[in-house]
Symmetry: C2
Subunit: 271 residues, 2 copies
């Protein structure tokens, strides 16, 4: 990490910063955002803040003020014009047991990372064995309970595989381990509706908006492995890596997605 702010103040010793009683650590009671910093600007900042707020509301965490979040981002922008900013908001430090005292002060952590190596271009994917549990109460938000994603990514270490696709416990397709999934079938764009699990990705949102602008028919619906395997085109989306065609999934192959290319160009033009 290049720089860290804890509740708005520069962290001098990043190895010794958080309380031993931090409830984000004890129970994962918090949310996070991972944002692309490009040319001195955070991409889709408003959408990230909006999802963060919704997550806080759903997890009964007081929402940090937009001023405080903007101030964190501004301070980190002074350090670098490109890179990644990760924001974590958690319930705060103190007490044992699942019930937080109402007086606890929320923990706001802002981390600056260097620009990751270029990860554009098409990828090969695999199906993961780790399943996502269904709980509509936690669906959509980017909370700190991410064991399923951690276990899913631990399933492979072949660097030729760029993403693992995940099913929920009933066998519905949900997402990639750190991306959302889109398929194109007979010209219609479809993506899982995430009513039971998965994160409503910020790039997923941009793709839905851009598709509507371009007049591409879009559906958010239940998808099953057969739908994916019989699709004409596949791609995954992530706030840092953008839109990436999936050209291989296990033994099936696809061409580079032409709709993904159109959407990428439209997104670059819209910003």
């Amino acid at each position: 990490v290049l720089s860290a702010l804890l509740n708005g103040r520069i962290v001098l010793d990043v190895q010794h910063a958080l309380s031993v009683e931090e409830r984000g650590f004890a129970y994962g009671h918090g949310v996070f955002e991972t944002m692309a910093l490009r040319d001195g600007r955070v991409r889709f900042l408003d959408d990230h803040f909006e999802r963060l707020s919704e997550g806080c509301t759903r997890l009964k965490i007081p929402i940090p003020s937009t001023e405080s979040l903007l101030s964190d981002v501004s301070q980190l922008l002074e350090k670098s014009k490109d890179g990644v900013i990760k924001l974590i908001v958690s319930r705060g430090s103190g007490g044992r047991g699942y019930r937080p005292e109402a007086s606890l002060i929320v923990t706001r952590l802002a981390l600056l990372y260097p620009k990751p190596p270029d990860q554009s271009g098409s990828i090969s994917a695999r199906w993961c064995n780790t399943r996502l549990a269904r709980n509509s109460q936690l669906a959509g938000i980017k909370h700190l309970n991410r064991l399923e994603q951690v276990l899913a990514q631990s399933e492979w270490d072949d660097t030729a595989i760029g993403e693992g696709l995940m099913l929920d416990t009933e066998g519905e397709v949900v997402c990639g381990t750190s991306s959302n999934l889109f398929i194109v079938t007979s010209g219609v764009l479809s993506t899982p509706d995430l009513r039971f699990c998965g994160v409503r990705g910020i790039m997923r949102l941009q793709v839905l908006k851009a598709a509507r602008c371009l007049g591409i028919e879009v559906e958010e619906r239940a998808l099953w492995p057969d739908d994916v395997e019989s699709a004409d085109e596949l791609f995954v989306t992530n706030a840092l890596r953008g839109i990436r065609s999936v050209v291989r999934l296990e033994r099936r192959e696809w061409p580079q997605s032409s709709i993904a290319d159109r959407l990428s160009h439209a997104l670059e033009a819209m910003e």
Copy 2:
């Protein structure tokens, strides 16, 4: 917290101890144990260590040596003869993204808390609205992804309610927010089998052992709300609070559980 050890060393500043990149914080990649310290001894220490090890194995976290864990406990025992010791083992600090580098050093945190106020005696309970998601891959172990328990406990603040009982997303009864549940029906003791979710409690294990010693018939099986509401006796178990009769659930009432009393006495005698 009275005292804290991080990787075996006393923490001088408990408010500034953990790394900003701690993976237990970022993703909940870790496990914990909460153990009763009584008369200079940790109750059921071997069982706690065994569950901790199983959790590490299932979450692909290197298991801390028994020597290191025993050394932590001994150091805390020097500070107090009674209280609560909480152990947290997490994947360690470093990196962004769900995949930990293999070289990361595991974080071992041992916390000493004062003896909680006496919480024996019978309780009233309620049904929680928050459901537990089903994922057999995470069932049974005491991992750090505990948002469902946090949300369930936030549902009530009436101190007359001692526990909330939780269903899974399919409506099966699983446990209390921080306890396991037993019912007695026609002399047979039953408890949820936890095949999809819930934690295999250490006190639950002792109750199963004691019941077998006493010749009480025991079943681990699927339980539904009707089974609970039509039972002859109910009780919940927790490593710190022991065995507690549930004498009221919403509008239904029960007598103090006689089997719970027999089991409590047997457990005290067995130690």
